[in-house]
């Protein structure tokens, strides 16, 4: 029987003692890079797609406005609404919102504020144009129409 005896006695197990270290490394990576979202978005957000996308280096200068159909249709209706921070606002309230956002920035940066409009694809131009007019009045004229990278083409 010794003919068929295994000749090799190399270990067959993968050493798992370093697995916690690897996992911890991954864990720390995600802990450091993760950023908790501070606002709940209460409107539908299907981003349009575009190619000529640009990013801004100074993220602190960006303030977000979310526009879309409310997620709770029975409570807020089907008409697209504007969400700023955690509340729905009317186009008339945009100036006030911009001023409060500007107040959060350093004085030198106030005129460099950029508004990122996160608009649902189904929202209509009429509402967005109203917001734009108010933004012009509030002197926040740098705008970023948020979009995702177009995949095909």
């Amino acid at each position: 029987m010794s003919k068929f005896k295994k000749k090799t006695n190399a270990k067959q197990e993968i050493p798992t003692s370093s697995m916690p270290d690897v996992v911890f490394m991954l864990l720390f990576f995600f802990m450091v890079t993760t950023k908790m979202r501070e606002t709940n978005i209460n409107v539908e957000q299907h981003m349009p797609q575009a190619v000529q996308l640009q990013t801004l280096a100074k993220k602190s200068l960006i303030s977000y406005l979310y526009i879309g159909t409310p997620k709770k249709i029975d409570q807020f209706g089907k008409e697209p609404k504007i969400q700023a921070n955690d509340v729905f606002i009317e186009p008339k309230g945009v100036i006030q919102w911009v001023n409060s956002e500007k107040a959060k920035l350093d004085e030198v940066d106030r005129d460099a504020i950029t508004i990122s409009l996160k608009v649902d694809t189904e929202a209509k131009r009429g509402l967005i144009a109203d917001v734009e007019t108010e933004l012009r009045r509030a002197n926040a004229r740098k705008l970023l129409y948020s979009a995702n990278k177009k995949i095909d083409r």
Partner: protein, 195 residues
């Protein structure tokens, strides 16, 4: 002499770490602050009342979209792709007076984009993307960089000396400070016609 070993069992440490890892994996959102950059004009009240400048028809590239998301380019219904719209727009900007029906020079050329209040945001972004592409492709070609690189440069033109030079080269800054090919995309106030 039997001694109790003062060790904490660490076999389950990996499980705990995995649990935490899964939590952070699921809550992480990759920040996507990408979008089409637009500079709005001054507020309507700030403009002097008598600024109605007559712009010759040939210097205007008119793109209109109605509430059914149908395009009208230079008065003709548009059925071709957005790529062709970009090419047509580029030809208009770089006409330099060759075609008598098209623009005199890039400085005078204005791309006018008008929508209806009922136009969807999707089509608005599509068309704005195509028109922006026309300018960025021209700039990129002049600066001899790729369009992707050009977008990076124009996002932060003052980031460093090299990008500032390329930015000025692409747009063609003249000695008096004017720009040879300004990005004249005018987004007009939407109409209220509906259909």
């Amino acid at each position: 002499m039997a001694r109790s070993t003062p060790e904490i069992p660490n076999a389950s440490m990996a499980d705990i770490a995995f649990l935490l890892l899964t939590f952070f994996l699921m809550t992480t959102t990759v920040a996507s602050d990408k979008g089409l950059l637009v500079q709005l004009p001054p507020p309507p009240e700030a403009l002097p009342p008598d600024t109605d400048v007559e712009i010759p028809e040939r210097n205007l590239f008119k793109v209109q979209v109605n509430s059914f998301d149908k395009l009208l380019v230079e008065g003709e219904p548009w059925t071709a792709s957005t790529r062709e719209l970009t090419d047509k727009c580029k030809a208009f900007i770089l006409n330099n007076g060759q075609d008598k029906a098209s623009s005199d020079n890039p400085q005078k050329a204005i791309v006018s984009f008008k929508t209806d209040r009922g136009t969807s945001h999707k089509v608005f972004v599509d068309v704005l993307d195509a028109l922006t592409a026309a300018y960025y492709e021209i700039y990129a070609q002049r600066a001899e960089v790729s369009v992707d690189r050009w977008r990076e440069i124009s996002s932060e033109p003052n980031a460093d000396e090299v990008s500032k030079q390329l930015y000025d080269k692409g747009r063609g800054v003249l000695p008096n400070g004017a720009v040879e090919i300004p990005k004249n995309i005018s987004i007009a106030e939407p109409t209220k016609i509906g259909g």
